[in-house]
Structure formats: structure tokens, C-alpha cells
């Protein structure tokens, strides 16, 4: 999902103006539409709250220490899941990608397991790892593992053969080959795999938190919902979406800078 075209670097002032006009226009239409629905009474009162209370809720939320405690718990889960899932995925991907026999034997399983919804394993993970953070980390890591393993195996096969011969001609050791040639040579597919893994790991871990937990942003969503505090619920979701978007953008930036080098 790399957006190759972005208006930030646009040097053409006329085009930049059009871009901004369209953006502002869309934003205004969305906001007015929202407000209109809110006041029309199509939905139950409070289900679509007015913009003012939502803004106020966001303002209160970012000052609330409880929010940061929950954010920290979720961030920890995701980071652990991403670390464990990616490390295992890269290791498996290198092994499978370098041996055509293993690739033919096992890659179909990984390929078809990768997009299956991981959340259904939650009851099982609770049995294995308990109701705390460990079961969410396990789910997130499972989400990440398959995508990263596939991307790495694919990346291994696409490495320019001559770079491997260069390494051998300078008599690089196996470790040197892995860290100075294989990994940098397939950094783009691997980073893109990690980014995809991040997306599904976030969804899965947050959903698991809404189902059963006592901390994290998903837990906070359910608490807010049970109080039927709709403006806060909207505010919280907006903040979560922004954070997820930022995480994705940061990983995307990594992959893009790698692209240009």
C-alpha cells in the first residue's frame, strides 16, 4: 500500500492548490454530512453525536493518564508480537526460500494459512498462555509470522545471484552472508511483509483485548461502550486509527527509503 504520489513534495503551486482544495472540500462534505445525520435523528439519539462533544472527548482523552496506561499496554503487545513473529518469520523464510524442495513441501501451507483470521485461535491461546498480555502477543505473532515468512521466502528467491557470488568470492562466512548480503538484499520485500503483518497483528490483538482482558486500548473501547459514552467512544476510535495509521506510515517510510537506496 505504498502511496507513491504524495502532494508534500509537489513543486507545482497550481497543482498543490487543486489538491488542497479537493482535500478541504471532501473534509467539509464529510463533516457537514456527519452533523446533518447527527441532527436529523435518523439514528438513535447519541449514536451519532455532534462534532463538538467528540472534539471535547478527544481533548479530555489525551489528558487522561488512564488512556496512556492502556496505550502502553497495547503498544507493548504489538511490539512484542511484531518482534517475535518477524524474527521467526524471517528465519523460516530464509530456510524455505533457499531450498526449493522445502519450498515446494511447505510453502502452500504457509500461503493458505497466511490470510485466515487469527482471532479464532483466541480461545486456544487463552488455554495456552492465560488471559493476560501473553495470549494477545501470541495471536499477534501468529498473524505476523506467516506473512513475513512468505515475503522472506519470496525475497530470497529474488536476490540477484551475482551478489551472492561476490560474497563467496570474498570468502564471507555464513553469518556475514546472512547479515551483509541476504538481509540487506531482500530488505524491501521483508519490510513490506512486516508492514502487512503489523496491520493484521494490530487488528487481531485489539479484537482479542475487546473480548477478554483488563488493560489495553481494546479493553478501553469496551469500557467506554458499556458506559454508552458515545462521544468518548468515537474520540477513542479516532485516536486509535491515527496511531495505527502513523505506525503503518513509519514502517512504510522504512520500506520506501530502502527503495531509493
Amino acid at each position: 500500500m505504498s502511496s507513491t504520489i504524495t502532494s508534500w513534495g509537489d513543486k507545482n503551486p497550481a497543482r498543490l492548490r487543486t489538491t488542497n482544495l479537493i482535500r478541504i472540500g471532501f473534509a467539509i462534505v464529510l463533516l457537514i454530512g456527519w452533523e446533518a445525520i447527527s441532527r436529523s435523528g435518523i439514528f438513535l439519539r447519541d449514536v451519532v453525536p455532534s462534532l463538538g462533544p467528540i472534539a471535547l472527548a478527544i481533548f479530555k482523552l489525551v489528558q487522561n493518564p488512564v488512556f496512556y496506561a492502556n496505550l502502553q499496554a497495547t503498544a507493548f503487545e504489538i511490539a512484542m508480537a511484531l518482534g517475535i513473529g518477524s524474527a521467526l518469520g524471517i528465519a523460516c523464510g530464509i530456510i524455505i526460500g533457499s531450498r526449493p524442495f522445502l519450498s515446494a513441501a511447505f510453502e502452500p501451507y504457509i500461503y493458505y494459512m497466511a490470510p485466515t483470521p487469527r482471532i479464532i485461535f483466541f480461545p486456544v491461546m487463552i488455554m495456552w498462555f492465560g488471559v493476560g498480555v501473553a495470549s494477545k502477543i501470541a495471536l499477534g505473532a501468529m498473524s505476523c509470522f506467516f506473512v513475513v515468512a512468505l515475503a522472506t521466502a519470496d525475497g530470497m528467491r529474488q536476490i540477484d545471484r551475482v551478489l551472492i557470488r561476490v560474497g563467496r568470492s570474498f570468502r564471507a562466512t555464513s553469518l556475514q552472508m546472512a547479515f551483509k548480503i541476504y538481509l540487506p538484499a531482500m530488505r524491501i520485500p521483508v519490510l513490506n511483509g512486516i508492514r502487512l503483518g503489523f496491520g493484521t497483528a494490530v487488528v487481531t490483538a485489539l479484537l482479542a483485548e475487546t473480548k477478554l482482558s483488563n488493560q489495553g486500548l481494546g479493553f478501553m473501547v469496551m469500557q467506554t461502550y458499556s458506559r454508552f459514552d458515545m462521544p468518548s467512544l468515537y474520540g477513542l476510535l479516532i485516536i486509535i486509527f491515527i496511531i495505527a495509521g502513523l505506525g503503518n506510515a513509519v514502517l512504510g517510510r522504512f520500506a520506501n527509503t530502502a527503495h531509493h537506496s
Binding site: 551475482v162 561476490v166 540487506p184
Partner: protein, 287 residues
């Protein structure tokens, strides 16, 4: 410059003390024993200390196989390749390879690319950059140290590869058509650069190519290969004066050498062409 050998020979070179590299009766076949493709058929020649030798042959004659064998990247052959008196067994530190394909690391800038072999040997950053800088200057890329390969032209990238190999200070520089992807003019100018560096370092060099001009322009001796099986057809001394520049291509002596070698090669090249055409016809018939 050496003029010791007779101008043409099929015989195994006598083993002299100043041989930097000896290719001794090397034989390599591919495929099953009942229908083998013989890539290299009992080839023997040597490269003396400080000498520039070129192996020339038509496409598909087994040049690249020979390159991989001498570089130690291909095993399972008969005969011997010796560095000095030591038989090689895998990539040898005394042999530095430059590949035909684009082989710079796209994620490293010029100086990091060139310093790569020093990094593998655990040499500290300051020292390896200093030594890399020396060879960057030598190949004429001073000022481009921080550029990435994607920001350089094909000729510049190939010079980065050459500097990267030179920095490991190989006794023997082994190059496989390093200019194959470049245009004719760049090729001539880079040839000058190579000549200059080779003379400056007194660098023993073995070049593998199919390009006649390049071979005559650069070499002290040329080994002409036959097309399948790849044998030594003839070894020719190139008796053109040094210091030599690309201007030499307009001289009469140069033309004479080119014509002479082409006379040898034409038959081989046309056999190669007929062969690949018949393969294409067979493939087409097979669907």
C-alpha cells in the same frame, strides 16, 4: 612485459617460478555421462607475474565456466588451478574477481561498497575508509564516495566493482567481461583506465571476454578458445608498445592483430551461431 613464450602454442606451458597463476589441464563437463556437454576441455595456460592475459572465445564456449573455476566458485572438475605452486580449492584470497553482471550492492554507497572486503576482515572503519578512498581515487571516482549505485552510470558502477576487488589487494585480478554492458566509447575509455591501473600496480590480470578490440587493446598475451568443447586454440603475444592508450586501435599493427585473431575466431563463432540456431529450431518444433 614478457616476450618469452613462442607466439603460438598448444603445449602445456613450462612451469616457471614467476607464474602467478597456472591453469593445468582443466576439464569440466555438465550433464549426464552418456550425453555430456564439455564446457572446458583440458585447457592449459599460465599467467606470469605482472602480466595481462586475456582469454577470448565466442559466446557459449565455456569462458564463464573457466572464470568460475579459476575463481573457486565451481568445483567438481578435473585438472588443477594453481596460485603460485598452491592448488586452489574454493575461493582463494589471492584471486580477486570482477563479475560481468552489475554487482555493486545497491544499499551501500560507493565508499561502503569499496570497503566491503575490508569490513569482512574486521578492519576498523577509519582504516578501511582510508584504504577504500585510495582505490576510489585510482578508478577516478573521487567526489562520488557518498553516492549510491543507483545514482551512478553503468560505467561508474563497474569501476566501483573494480575498486572493490582491488582494495582486497589480490595477487591476481580476474575479470569476466566487465565491460559487456557498456557502450563502445565508454568501453575504450575504461580500457585506458584499466591499462593505467594495471601498469601502476604491476597488477597480474586475467581478463575473459568475447570482445576483440578490448582484448588486443589491453593484453600482453591472448588465449584463443574454441567453441564446444572449449580448448586452447592458440596463444598469441601482443607486441604493441607500452605505455598504451586507446589511440592504439587506429594503428596498423593493432588492425593486424585483430584480423589475425578474428581469422581464428570466425570459424568458432559461426559454429556457435549455427548451434544456437539449431537449438532454437528444435525448441520451436518441440512447441
Amino acid at each position: 612485459m614478457t616476450l618469452a613464450a613462442p607466439s603460438t602454442t598448444h603445449a602445456v606451458q613450462s612451469q616457471s617460478k614467476d607464474n602467478a597463476l597456472t591453469v593445468d589441464n582443466v576439464y569440466k563437463q555438465f550433464g549426464a555421462n552418456d550425453a555430456p556437454v564439455i564446457a572446458v576441455d583440458h585447457m592449459s595456460f599460465d599467467v606470469r607475474q605482472g602480466e595481462f592475459v586475456t582469454v577470448i572465445g565466442p559466446s557459449g564456449c565455456g569462458k564463464s565456466t573457466l572464470f568460475s573455476i579459476i575463481g573457486g566458485l565451481m568445483g567438481d572438475y578435473q585438472g588443477q588451478v594453481r596460485v603460485g605452486n598452491e592448488p586452489i580449492n574454493g575461493p582463494h584470497p589471492a584471486v580477486g574477481m570482477v563479475f560481468q553482471e552489475e554487482s555493486t550492492f545497491p544499499w551501500r554507497n560507493v565508499i561502503e561498497n569499496v570497503a566491503f572486503p575490508l569490513e569482512l576482515n574486521g578492519i576498523g572503519k577509519a582504516e578501511r575508509h582510508e584504504r577504500a578512498q585510495h582505490f576510489i581515487n585510482m578508478v577516478g571516482l573521487a567526489g562520488f564516495e557518498k553516492r549510491l549505485p543507483s545514482e551512478l552510470s553503468g560505467g561508474m558502477r563497474q569501476r566501483v566493482s573494480i575498486a572493490r576487488t582491488l582494495v582486497s589487494q589480490p595477487k591476481i585480478l580476474l575479470m569476466d567481461e566487465p565491460f559487456a554492458a557498456l557502450d563502445e566509447q565508454t568501453r575504450l575509455l575504461l580500457g585506458d583506465k584499466i591499462t593505467q591501473i594495471q601498469q601502476e600496480l604491476n597488477q597480474t590480470t586475467l581478463l575473459i571476454t568475447h570482445n576483440l578490440t578490448e582484448a588486443v587493446q589491453l593484453s600482453d598475451r591472448i588465449v584463443v578458445m574454441t567453441y564446444r568443447p572449449g580448448r586452447v586454440k592458440r596463444i598469441i603475444d601482443i607486441d604493441l608498445p607500452r605505455p598504451r592508450t586507446s589511440d592504439v586501435v587506429s594503428s596498423a599493427a593493432f588492425g593486424k592483430y585483430v584480423a589475425e585473431i578474428w581469422g581464428d575466431l570466425r570459424e568458432e563463432a559461426s559454429r556457435g551461431m549455427a548451434d544456437s540456431e539449431s537449438h532454437a529450431v528444435k525448441d520451436a518444433a518441440r512447441g
